[in-house]
């Protein structure tokens, strides 16, 4: 039974999604979703322990031996993402039941849970599969369910946002599959490990370069790497708040995972290739993402869009670590995958809670005026999560900053050190804007009867925000796995 875990972590959500679609009774679906994500989480942790004890797992789906059959391949890096996805999934479900009931019409709730599980299944699948085409299939499963989830937003603009994402997402997936097609054409295999061996001798041929470009461009859309990020702010802003939280914490991260997989495992990137053209492109895109994202956030008034732009910037930090291309840099971006998921999930959860309390969907800056007194807990939590985003020492954000700076310094890129530091100050500006509104402006919403924050929501936010601080001091867990993941991805590092 236990050696079937690699397929179970994906299959269980898939089956559960079907059950939810049939039964569609809200409480039942919620319970099934919780149990499913618990199963996936324990499966992921079990896989992590197994991989740590006895090395990578190769699982032959249906007993067909690779490279002909589909192989599921689990290493530490994959486990890291599996744990992240299932953890976020379960936290969001516990956090959000009341919010889901409020934001989603009753006849759609069953479908919502079904889509949620399907999305989770797709994301887990992308991570665990060792097959290039199978990754595409899972990518489509997760994307299609994501489009549906976004379209469930109560605002009419959610439909447009979803449609925009659908067009771009499909474009991205198509480009990815063209890249995979080219690779298959020259090597005759779809298995990633097999690919990596077979393309060694032809690595410099134009076909491989073209394939690499297609895959990079396609995944960049999914990652929302600048300048291909414009679907993201609207999608995050108009989706229901639970969906935003889940997407912000997992979806882009999984695409980054796949990109890293291709770069390091398939195309055999190694440290110190900072002179390569593609690294140069990633570097400039990341820096632009950081600055454009932060500046857009500064001038944004809709809070969910503000955080979405901040996500664009933070994704820039993650890809920056790839561009720095040394151990410290990649460790920085690896640990930021988790840290950013934690911080952004906390912030979106808090926003969702506030929206729930003051009966409003699209929060703007002025809605927050004077809330410091009315909602001391939520506002304190938001401040702490925000400080974490800023990278104040003693929070998770600082760990990332430290590693990225060190990585830049090891390359002798002093200008990059300056840019990273300056960019982190931009966070101070938009955070300051929020905090000043919260604590200094007079209350604008007196007279509204506020909803009380559900206990489970309260607890999850409390846990998330305290982990922002706790994991900033005790990094043995996050940094430990991130370092192992880097070693798994780039063995000589």
């Amino acid at each position: 039974m236990f050696d079937q875990w690699p397929s179970l972590v994906v299959a269980v959500p898939l089956i559960a999604a079907g059950i939810c679609a049939i039964i569609r009774y809200e409480f039942f679906c919620w319970l099934v979703s919780i149990i499913t994500s618990l199963v996936s989480l324990s499966g992921s942790i079990f896989l992590y322990l197994t991989v740590k004890a006895s090395g990578d797992i190769s699982y032959k789906l249906g007993g067909w031996a690779p490279p002909v059959g589909i192989e599921y391949r689990v290493d530490i890096f994959a486990c890291y993402l599996l744990i992240l996805i299932s953890l976020v999934a379960i936290a969001v479900l516990i956090y959000g039941r009341k919010l889901i009931n409020k934001e989603i019409a009753s006849h759609l709730r069953g479908w919502f849970y079904s889509m949620y599980l399907l999305c989770m299944c797709g994301l887990m699948g992308i991570v665990i599969t060792g097959d290039a085409f199978n990754a595409f299939v899972f990518m489509e499963i997760s994307s299609l369910s994501m489009y549906t989830l976004i379209a469930l937003g109560r605002d009419k603009r959610a439909l447009l946002a979803s449609y925009q994402y659908l067009i771009l997402g499909t474009l991205g997936a198509t480009m990815y599959v063209i890249g995979v097609g080219l690779l298959f054409n020259v090597t005759g295999t779809l298995n990633l490990i097999d690919l990596s061996i077979k393309i060694q001798p032809i690595l410099d041929t134009p076909v491989i370069k073209v394939a690499m470009s297609f895959i990079f461009a396609g995944l960049s859309i999914k990652i929302a790497l600048f300048p291909l990020h414009f679907w993201l702010p609207n999608a995050y802003a108009f989706a229901p708040s639970v969906v935003t939280t889940f997407l912000a914490a997992t979806a882009t991260k999984v695409s980054i995972y796949l990109l890293m997989r291709y770069f390091y495992t398939v195309f055999g990137f190694s440290f110190g290739m900072s002179s390569e053209l593609i690294i140069g492109i990633i570097l400039s895109c990341s820096i632009l993402a950081i600055f454009v994202g932060s500046f857009s956030a500064i001038f944004e008034n809709n809070l969910k869009r503000l955080l979405a732009f901040s996500s664009v910037a933070q994704i820039g930090y993650i890809t920056l670590g790839i561009a720095i291309a040394n151990n410290a840099g990649l460790t920085g971006s690896m640990v930021h995958i988790f840290n950013h998921a934690l911080m952004k999930a906390s912030l979106f959860m808090i926003l969702g809670a506030i929206a729930f309390q003051i009966h409003k969907d699209q929060l703007t800056l002025t809605d927050l005026s004077g809330l410091g007194k009315q909602m001391p807990f939520s506002m304190a939590a938001m401040t702490i999560a925000g400080l974490s985003l800023l990278g104040v020492p003693g929070t998770v954000g600082f760990v990332t900053k430290w590693y990225l700076i060190q990585g830049a310094m090891q390359n002798g890129w002093w200008w990059l050190v300056v840019l990273i530091l300056v960019s982190s100050l931009l966070v101070l500006i938009y955070l300051g804007k929020i905090i000043e509104t919260v604590y200094f402006k007079p209350a604008s919403n007196t007279g509204i009867e506020m909803n009380e924050l559900p206990g489970s929501t309260f607890i999850i936010i409390l846990l998330a925000v305290s982990s922002c601080i706790y994991l900033g001091f005790d990094t043995s867990l996050t940094l430990g796995i991130a370092e192992e993941a880097v070693n798994a991805l780039v063995p000589e590092g």
């Binding site: 400080l387 104040v392 700076i405 060190q406 310094m409 050190v417 300056v418 100050l425 940094l479």
Partner: protein, 484 residues
């Protein structure tokens, strides 16, 4: 002993947490704050006792990542600073209770909470065993004091607090942090070690760049032109200005500078690679400029703020001279200025409390009305000028002796000019208060401040005199620091 070390850091933290959740009327909170401060002082005293017996006290909390170690250790300079902070926390919390209640301030729970958190961060900073831990608590201190500076919650405090946080955070992020990462990159360690940690082969220009980054990165030391945040922070209530912006925050700044000169560069090295050359001149100019600006300020608190900037520059100057005598001078000056300046700020608060006077030109004749307050103010002012029998004299004396010994005429001249300027902006206040007639008699014909406010003022004034007679503790600790 490490239990004591842990509780020295945790007690203020717990007091702070209690303040946040305490019931509204606050009698309980006042009792907890004062008794917490008392216990804290006792704990620090215990640590001092053990330390002076030669016991090695350390506490390793956690290793965040390679090079990033949160570890505390008791060494002379930190001992001195933590002692200062602990005594003044006790006195200023008594003062604050009196002041904030008499002034009918709101949101006292969060006020005392953040106040105690700031103390906790300062004590942790004082005991940090390495540059990384120091930086962590330095930054935490910045963010924790923001709500205190902006406590007034009006537009003026919002703007003041905005400037406060922008200058402090950007200086530390843009200069201090890269300097630390570069130090780690070059030396492979961040642990403080008397005599310095840089290998001899390090090139001079790198060290000079690093010293510039460190000194300007530590914005809390308020070396010009990084000083603008300090006058801005004066929008805070009087107890905050007193404890944080005369003692804990600004002294955390000069403490860090001193510590970096002594324990990261090493004082011999610091002269050799030319750190002294630029730092002494910059600090000297800062002393004279700040004093000149103070001279033309009519707002009492901003005059005090500029006086603080100039007095902080004395410590930086002494660190820059980097001779053993000057370092002793710096240590003594940190303590002496702490007591004198807090007396002045307490007095300024007490004046405002009773008469709502903010400007110096209206202080005439107030000495008869508020004899205790103005008397203590006088003693504090003498300490600023450096006239015996106040402790302010001692710090200057050590720095002067170093300047005379090494025939450093620049330092001599700077000290002379600044002493004259100090006298020029403090003596007229005292003269006016005691010997001029009151121009406008206030309607309510008020007397001196309530006793709970007066007692801390008098105690700090008294200590600054006692310290002149018995300077044994700071001097012996600074000997120990230098290993003499």
């Amino acid at each position: 002993m490490s239990v004591y070390l842990a509780s020295a850091i945790l007690i203020p933290c717990l007091v702070g947490l209690f303040s946040f959740v305490s019931p509204r009327n606050g009698i309980l909170r006042d009792i907890v704050t004062v008794s917490g401060a008392l216990i804290h002082f006792f704990v620090i005293y215990k640590i001092y006792q053990a330390f002076s017996k030669g016991e090695f006290i350390s506490l390793n909390v956690i290793n965040i990542f390679p090079g990033g170690n949160i570890e505390f250790i008791v060494e002379p300079l930190g001992m001195l600073f933590s002692g200062l902070v602990s005594i003044l926390w006790l006195l200023s919390s008594i003062y604050a209770i009196g002041y904030m209640r008499a002034h009918k301030e709101e949101r006292l729970g969060s006020f005392f909470g953040f106040f105690a958190f700031a103390i906790s961060a300062t004590i942790a900073l004082a005991y940090s065993s390495n540059l990384f831990a120091l930086f962590v608590f330095y930054e935490i201190l910045t963010f924790i004091t923001y709500p205190l500076v902006s406590h007034g919650a009006d537009t003026e405090s919002q703007m003041g607090a905005r400037r406060y946080i922008l200058i402090l955070v950007s200086s530390s992020v843009l200069f201090f942090l890269p300097a630390i990462v570069a130090t780690y990159y070059i030396t492979g360690t961040l642990d403080f070690k008397v005599g310095g940690i840089f290998p001899d082969a390090t090139q001079n220009y790198i060290l000079i760049v690093l010293s510039i980054l460190f000194v300007y990165g530590i914005g809390k030391a308020a070396l010009m032109p990084m000083h603008k945040w300090l006058p801005s922070a004066m929008v805070a209530p009087a107890p905050v200005s007193a404890l944080l912006h005369a003692v804990a925050v600004v002294k955390a700044g000069v403490f860090s500078v001193l510590k970096i000169v002594v324990c990261i560069f090493g004082i011999d090295h610091f002269q050799d690679f030319g750190g002294s050359d630029w730092l002494v001149y910059i600090a000297g100019i800062s002393i004279v400029l700040a004093s000149s600006i103070a001279l033309v300020q009519d707002n009492l608190k901003s005059r005090l703020a500029y006086s603080t900037i100039s007095q902080l520059a004395y410590v930086v100057l002494a660190a820059g001279i980097a001779t053993p005598l000057a370092i002793i001078g710096a240590c003594v000056h940190i303590v002496a200025h702490g007591f004198s300046k807090i007396t002045l700020f307490f007095a300024a608060g007490s004046i405002y409390l009773k008469s709502h006077i903010k400007s110096i030109s209206k202080l005439d004749g107030l000495g008869k009305r508020m004899p205790w307050t103005m008397g203590a103010f006088g003693i504090g002012a003498l300490g600023m000028i450096g006239i015996p029998p106040t402790a302010g004299f001692l710090g200057k004396w050590f720095i002067l002796s170093s300047a005379v010994t090494f025939q450093d005429y620049f330092v001599l001249i700077v000290l002379m000019i600044s002493t004259i300027l100090n006298a020029a902006y403090f003596l007229p206040i005292i003269y006016g208060a005691f010997f001029k007639e009151e121009k406008n008699v206030p309607d309510n014909n008020h007397g001196d401040a309530p006793i709970i406010v007066i007692v801390p003022i008098c105690i700090t004034a008294l200590i600054s005199i006692l310290l002149f007679c018995f300077p044994n503790i700071p001097v012996s600790l600074s000997y120990k620091l230098l290993g003499i």
